[in-house]
């Protein structure tokens, strides 16, 4: 929902016009400007609220509503929603509502961990390549081209068949496969920024390399990095679900939303709808929410979109 609060092309004096104008003259770094534009995007704020609610549900939920998610109880298998089990039970007798919380913990932990790790790794790599330039840069970029030429899912399928998957291993593998695009983006950003007048100016003024990177390059490149981090997060959750569907996800009794969903789909045509809809809805909502946030940050960064 790009730029929901910004005036359409034909009407530059739309309701949000004055706010945008005020922002252009607003003091403070790019971060604050991004935050202001972001706050005006209702869809993105809703996305942020949704993520907060879902995170709370997954991590605080089990404290209020503890359920058995370890011992299989076949006597309680596939019970319809109602009474003790608001969302029914699954084929192993696990409470589906409780399992959504536990599964969500894996999905969210994976998403956040992969997102943070790829951002750190990719940013460092891209920044070094961009700052070094020359042959070092060329070599470092060819490494990325090579790794990008094989789809991540393909490499992942090879790897999970070699090592036994658990959450830590999958986080590590996904990180190793997901840091490439961000490295490339950051390098591009650094290369552009390096030639800009303000960086040239501070360089002439005798600023140290460290100061240029921390005070001038990093704040200006942060937008691209944040956008990529949110998309990496939702992609990681989806990739884990694809792995689960292929039977290569987390081994039971661990759970993630994708695993619950692909397990439930086996029973879709037998009428056990409560095994499908709850994980499908929460998985899609989460990924949509992260994508809305990423989209809004990207719009907030795009100067041309702010002043059409």
């Amino acid at each position: 929902m790009a730029a929901a609060e910004q005036p359409p092309l034909a009407a530059p004096d739309g309701p949000a016009g004055p706010a945008v104008d005020a922002m252009a003259g607003r003091p403070g770094g790019p971060l604050r400007r991004i935050a202001a534009t972001f706050a005006e995007n209702r869809a993105a704020v809703a996305g942020l609220g949704l993520i907060a609610a879902i995170t709370l549900f997954c991590f605080a939920g089990p404290l209020i509503y503890p359920t058995n998610q370890v011992t299989v109880q076949l006597g309680l298998a596939k019970l319809p929603p109602g009474g003790r089990f608001p969302l029914g039970t699954d084929p192993s007798g696990y409470n589906v509502l409780g399992r959504l919380m536990v599964g969500g913990q894996s999905s969210l932990e994976l998403g956040f961990a992969v997102s943070i790790a790829t951002t750190v790794l990719g940013t460092a790599y891209g920044a070094v390549a961009g700052l070094a330039g020359g042959i070092v840069d060329a070599l470092m970029m060819r490494v990325i081209d090579t790794a990008l030429a094989v789809p991540a899912l393909v490499l992942l399928l090879i790897l999970v068949n070699v090592v036994t998957p658990n959450l830590g291993v999958i986080i590590l593998l996904l990180t190793l496969l997901s840091w490439l695009p961000i490295a490339r983006l950051v390098r591009g950003e650094v290369l552009t920024l390096k030639t800009r007048e303000f960086v040239q100016a501070v360089k002439v003024m005798g600023a140290t390399r460290r100061r240029i990177v921390l005070r001038h390059l990093a704040p200006n490149a942060i937008g691209v990095i944040v956008v990529n981090a949110t998309f990496t997060l939702s992609d990681a959750i989806l990739t884990l679900s694809a792995l689960s569907f292929l039977g290569l996800g987390l081994p039971p009794p661990q759970a993630d939303w994708g695993g619950m969903l692909s397990g439930g789909l086996n029973y879709l045509f037998d009428g056990y709808w409560w095994l499908v809809y709850p994980p499908a809805v929460i998985l899609i909502l989460t990924v949509v929410a992260f994508n809305l946030i990423g989209d809004a940050v990207r719009d907030a960064l795009d100067v041309r979109l702010q002043r059409p």
């Binding site: 929902m1 790009a2 730029a3 929901a4 910004q6 359409p8 092309l9 060819r142 490494v143 081209d145 090579t146 790794a147 990008l148 030429a149 094989v150 789809p151 991540a152 899912l153 393909v154 490499l155 399928l157 090879i158 790897l159 068949n161 070699v162 090592v163 939702s234 989806l238 679900s241 694809a242 569907f245 292929l246 039977g247 290569l248 994708g258 969903l261 692909s262 789909l265 879709l268 045509f269 499908a280 998985l283 899609i284 990924v287 949509v288 994508n291 809305l292 041309r304 979109l305 059409p308």
Partner: protein
């Protein structure tokens, strides 16, 4: 242009070489896994040793790789452990089917996504835009397998219109003889791509519409239709072309899932089965094909870029 092409092809060759090294190292991380997968979990150490020496798996890795390269140079990709067929035969059978599946679905995705993105850009922030944005976000945020199974649930189980399995014919003409069975796999892959392509087209068209030359064209009194066709569409296409060229890995990943759901006998299914059964020659061969295709994809994107944009002329700088 020629100099640019030569340099670009040289880079591409280096990348393909890198892909082969990478895959080779990855699959050999666990010694004995291929033997156990081919001969069963209770195989004795002696049998593993025999298997490894038969296939040369006990030699040092660089030796194995050198031998593999020499064979590949002669067009020999080895023999599948599980299927006991030459890998080149397997790939030759399956690759045309995938070109059909991926080609038709990507073409369909573009036919749907380009007008859709343009429409959304023109109706920006009005109800029509919001509706399609919502649909695109939902499609994009769905696991591919869920989309595929939802389509089966609607078109096969509820409406009883289409078969749930892809055609099993061995040739491309055989596949085309049963077009109804191809609809769902094609639609699954197309819908996933429509979601992302239309987003890029939308934001690219919004950028183009804000340019001065569009204002000039309007001021000159050109018809709306001419402006859209000649100026907006052509200029908005550039970023989208790049995305299509670069999204090849994502399309392949989608194909692995779609082929598994619809039992489509293509490269994706071949690769998935090879990965689970540690069929090294098939894994190496299919990764090589995917790597080459990706490199060709990004090369094609570069060339299309130059053809579409008169400002870009490679090889002058």
């Amino acid at each position: 242009m020629t100099a640019f092409l030569i340099r670009r092809i040289g880079q591409a060759a280096a990348v393909v070489m890198g892909v082969m090294v990478l895959t080779f190292v990855l699959i050999h991380l666990e010694p004995g896994s291929a033997a156990r997968a081919a001969l069963g979990p209770h195989v004795t150490a002696g049998r593993i040793a025999i298997f490894n020496s038969t296939y040369g798996l006990n030699e040092p890795l660089y030796r194995q790789f050198g031998g593999y390269l020499a064979q590949v140079a002669r067009g020999n990709l080895g023999t599948s452990y599980a299927l006991q067929q030459p890998v080149s035969t397997l790939i030759a059978q399956r690759l045309p089917r995938d070109l059909l599946l991926l080609g038709v679905s990507t073409a369909l995705a573009l036919i749907l996504a380009l007008p859709l993105g343009l429409y959304q850009a023109l109706r920006r922030n009005r109800p029509g835009d919001y509706v399609f944005t919502g649909i695109a976000f939902t499609l994009y945020s769905m696991p591919d397998f869920l989309l595929a199974i939802a389509l089966i649930a609607v078109f096969c189980v509820q409406l009883r219109l289409l078969p749930p399995e892809a055609p099993q014919a061995t040739t491309v003409t055989g596949l085309l003889a049963d077009p109804r069975a191809l609809i769902l796999p094609v639609l699954t892959l197309a819908l996933v791509s429509v979601a992302s392509f239309s987003r890029y087209m939308r934001s690219s068209a919004i950028d183009t519409l804000a340019q001065d030359y569009i204002r000039v064209a309007r001021a000159k009194g050109l018809s709306r239709r001419l402006i859209l066709a000649r100026h907006v569409l052509r200029n908005s296409l550039l970023p989208v072309i790049t995305i299509v060229g670069l999204s090849f890995p994502a399309i392949v990943a989608g194909a692995v899932i779609a082929e598994e759901v619809f039992n489509f006998p293509g490269m994706g299914l071949l690769f998935y089965q090879a990965a689970t059964s540690h069929d090294f020659p098939v894994l190496l061969g299919s990764t090589l094909v995917v790597g080459i295709s990706t490199v060709i994809g990004s090369l094609a994107a570069d060339i299309a870029y130059a053809v579409l944009d008169p400002r870009i002329r490679y090889g002058r700088g």
